[in-house]
C-alpha cells in the first residue's frame, strides 16, 4: 500500500514537472530572445544569451507609443474601477433590498439587468462603434463608460448574490435609530461587502487591462489612443521579422501584471475563482 502511494507520488511529480516545463518553455524563449541580437538568435536560439544585449529594450522603451499605451491602459482601468465602485454596490443594494421588500419595480429591474448577461456581444459590437462615434466617444473616456455599462449585469449579479447573505435586520436597527438609507448603506453595509468588492475589482481589473476586442473596435484609429494590448498587436505587425524586438515589446507590456501577480497571488487567485463560481 505504502509502496504504491510512493509510486503514485513519483508519477504525479513527473507529470507536474513536465507540465511546468511546458508552461516555462515559451516564457524562457521569450525572455532570453529579448537579450540577444538578431544575429545571435539566428545562430543559437535556445541557449542563454552570451552578452546581455539591451538594445531591443532600448528601442521599445524609446517608442513614444508605448508610453501612450501605458497611460491609456492605466487611465481606463483605474477610472473604470473607481466609477464601478461608486455606482454598482449602491445599485445592487437597492435592487437586493427592493426585492426583499417585495417591490415589483425592483424585481423587474433585476431581471432586466440580468438579461444583459445573455445578450451576445457580437450583436452589440458593431452598432456600438456607430453609437460611440456619433457621441464623439471613440476615446479612452468612452471606453470607461462602456466597461462601466458592461458591469451593470455581471458585477451586479455577484453583488446581489452576496448581499442576500447579509441580513436586512442589521439595517432595520439603524433605521430605527433614525439613519437615512444612504447613511445605512455606507456605514453598515458597504464595509461588510469588502470580500466581494475585492473579488469584483480583481476580476474586472484584469479583464479590462487585458481586453483586446473593445479597444480594437474603438481606439485603433490613432496610436495615441492605443492600449497595451493594441500596442503589442500593432507593434508585432510592424516588426514581424524582428522577433527579438517583438518579444521585448511583449515582455515590457506584460511586466506590470506579472509583478502584480507575484505580490498579490493569493488575492488574484481567490478573486478569479470566487467570481467564476458565482457568475
Amino acid at each position: 500500500m505504502r509502496q504504491s502511494k510512493r509510486n503514485m507520488n513519483v508519477l504525479a511529480y513527473v507529470i507536474l514537472i513536465l507540465g511546468a516545463l511546458l508552461i516555462l518553455f515559451p516564457m524562457y524563449i521569450t525572455v532570453i530572445t529579448t537579450f540577444k541580437t538578431s544575429g545571435e538568435s539566428a545562430s543559437s536560439f535556445f541557449t542563454l544569451p552570451r552578452s546581455f544585449y539591451l538594445g531591443n529594450y532600448q528601442t521599445v522603451l524609446q517608442n513614444p507609443t508605448l508610453w501612450y499605451a501605458y497611460g491609456n491602459t492605466i487611465y481606463i482601468t483605474l477610472f473604470s474601477l473607481v466609477l464601478e465602485l461608486l455606482v454598482m454596490p449602491p445599485m445592487s443594494f437597492a435592487l437586493s433590498r427592493g426585492i426583499f421588500h417585495n417591490s415589483k419595480m425592483f424585481k423587474g429591474l433585476y431581471f432586466f439587468f440580468l438579461l444583459g448577461i445573455f445578450l451576445p456581444f457580437q450583436v452589440r459590437m458593431m452598432p456600438l462603434v456607430k453609437l460611440q462615434s456619433a457621441l464623439n466617444m471613440m476615446n479612452p473616456t468612452g471606453m470607461v463608460l462602456l466597461y462601466l455599462a458592461h458591469a451593470t449585469c455581471e458585477s451586479m449579479f455577484l453583488y446581489v448574490g452576496y448581499l442576500a447573505s447579509i441580513s436586512p435586520s442589521l439595517e432595520e436597527a439603524a433605521y430605527i435609530d433614525g439613519a437615512t438609507t444612504f447613511q445605512t448603506f455606507y456605514k453598515i453595509i458597504l464595509p461588510l461587502m469588502k470580500p466581494i468588492l475585492a473579488t469584483v475589482m480583481i476580476r474586472e481589473g484584469l479583464a479590462i487591462w487585458n481586453d483586446y476586442m473593445l479597444p480594437l473596435l474603438c481606439l485603433n484609429r490613432s496610436n495615441t489612443m492605443w492600449t497595451l494590448t493594441l500596442f503589442q498587436y500593432n507593434f508585432q505587425s510592424e516588426f514581424n521579422v524582428d522577433y527579438n524586438l517583438a518579444f521585448s515589446c511583449l515582455v515590457i507590456a506584460s511586466l506590470p501584471i506579472i509583478v502584480l501577480y507575484c505580490f498579490m497571488q493569493k488575492q488574484i487567485i481567490g478573486g478569479l475563482t470566487n467570481g467564476a463560481v458565482k457568475g
Binding site: 507536474l16 508552461i23 443594494f93 437586493s96 456600438l128 442576500a164 438609507t181 487585458n210 483586446y212
Partner: protein, 302 residues
C-alpha cells in the same frame, strides 16, 4: 444562475425615504445599461433589416433578406459554424480532462504543491493577445527548428500555416492558457470533499475507482457545470487567439464566426449583413447556454 434573494421573507413595505433612495441608487446604472447595452442591440436589430454597408448614411430597408441569405447562400457562415463547433468540442474535452487531472494532482499532499499552483495559474493573468503573439513566433521560428532537429516532417514547418493543423495549433495555445482557471475551480471543488468520507469508504472496502465514482464525482459536479459553461462560451466566441495568430487563415481554415463577422463588418463593407450573422449566432449561443443551465440546474436538484 437564479439568485433572487428571499422572495417572500416577510411582508415589509418600503418607507417613502427608502423608495426614493433606492431609485436614486439605481438610476446611473440603469441609464448606462439602457444607452450602451439595450440601445446598441435595438440599433443592431434595425440595421440587420437594411442593406447598409457601414459607410455613409444611405441605406434601404430590405426586410429579412440578410437573414435569408445567411441560411441559403453563404458557405462561409456554414464553414465557420462547423469550425466553431469542432473547436468547442475539442476545447471542452481538453479543458475538462486536463483541468481535472491537474487538479487531482495538485490536490495531493506533496512537497512543492504551492509552487506548482502558482506556476500553473500564471498564464491566466496574462492577456490572450500576448500569449497568442508569443506562440505565433514560437510556431514560426522555434517549433520548426526543433522539428528539423528531431527529423519530424510535420513539425519542420509552421503548423499554423498548414490548413489541416492550424486548428490544433490554436487549440494548444488556448488550452495552454485556458486550463488554468478550470484547474483552480476543480481544485477548490475537490477541497470541499470531507476527508473522512474517503477513510470511511476504504474501511468499507471500496477501491479507488469506487471512491472516485461515488464520492469525488458527485462532489465535483457543480464545479463541472461551471467549467462547462465557461468553456463552451469561450469556444463559441474565440477571437483573440485567432486574430493574433492566423487571422482566420490559411485559406479560411481557422475562420471562426467571430472572425467572419469581423471581416464582413470592417473589411468587406457588409455591415448590416454581418449584424444579421451576429444575431443568428447570438440566438444559437443563447439557446446552447439556456439548455446547459437548465440541464445543470436539474442535475443539482437530484
Amino acid at each position: 444562475m437564479t439568485a433572487v434573494p428571499r422572495k417572500k421573507a416577510r411582508q415589509h413595505t418600503m418607507r417613502r425615504e427608502q423608495a426614493i433612495a433606492y431609485t436614486i441608487m439605481t438610476l446611473p446604472g440603469l441609464v448606462l445599461y439602457c444607452v450602451f447595452l439595450i440601445l446598441p442591440i435595438l440599433m443592431g436589430l434595425y440595421y440587420s433589416l437594411t442593406d447598409w454597408t457601414g459607410i455613409g448614411n444611405k441605406f434601404n430597408f430590405i426586410g429579412l433578406d440578410n437573414y435569408i441569405k445567411v441560411f441559403t447562400n453563404d458557405k462561409r457562415f456554414g464553414n465557420a459554424l462547423v469550425f466553431n463547433l469542432r473547436y468547442t468540442v475539442y476545447l471542452v474535452i481538453g479543458i475538462v480532462v486536463i483541468g481535472f487531472m491537474l487538479a487531482m494532482l495538485l490536490n495531493r499532499e506533496m512537497k512543492g504543491r504551492s509552487f506548482f499552483r502558482t506556476l500553473y495559474f500564471m498564464p491566466a493573468v496574462l492577456s490572450m493577445i500576448t500569449i497568442g503573439l508569443v506562440f505565433k513566433q514560437v510556431y514560426f521560428y522555434v517549433l520548426p527548428s526543433i522539428g528539423k532537429a528531431v527529423g519530424s516532417a510535420t513539425f519542420s514547418e509552421n503548423i499554423i500555416a498548414n490548413r489541416q493543423l492550424a486548428i490544433y495549433g490554436i487549440l494548444f495555445v488556448h488550452l495552454w492558457q485556458g486550463v488554468a482557471l478550470p484547474t483552480l475551480l476543480f481544485l477548490s471543488g475537490l477541497q470541499t470533499i470531507p476527508v473522512d468520507l474517503y477513510e470511511a469508504a476504504s474501511i468499507d472496502g471500496a477501491n479507488a475507482w469506487h471512491q472516485f465514482k461515488s464520492i469525488t464525482v458527485p462532489y465535483i459536479l457543480p464545479t463541472l457545470s461551471v467549467v462547462l459553461v465557461l468553456a463552451v462560451k469561450q469556444g463559441l466566441n474565440v477571437f483573440d487567439y485567432i486574430n493574433s495568430m492566423t487571422k482566420g487563415g490559411p485559406g479560411g481554415a481557422t475562420t471562426s464566426i467571430s472572425i467572419l463577422i469581423w471581416q464582413n463588418a470592417w473589411e468587406r463593407n457588409r455591415f448590416s449583413y454581418a449584424i444579421a450573422q451576429a444575431v443568428i449566432t447570438g440566438l444559437i449561443i443563447a439557446l446552447i447556454s439556456f439548455v446547459q443551465i437548465k440541464y445543470t440546474d436539474r442535475k443539482k436538484v437530484d
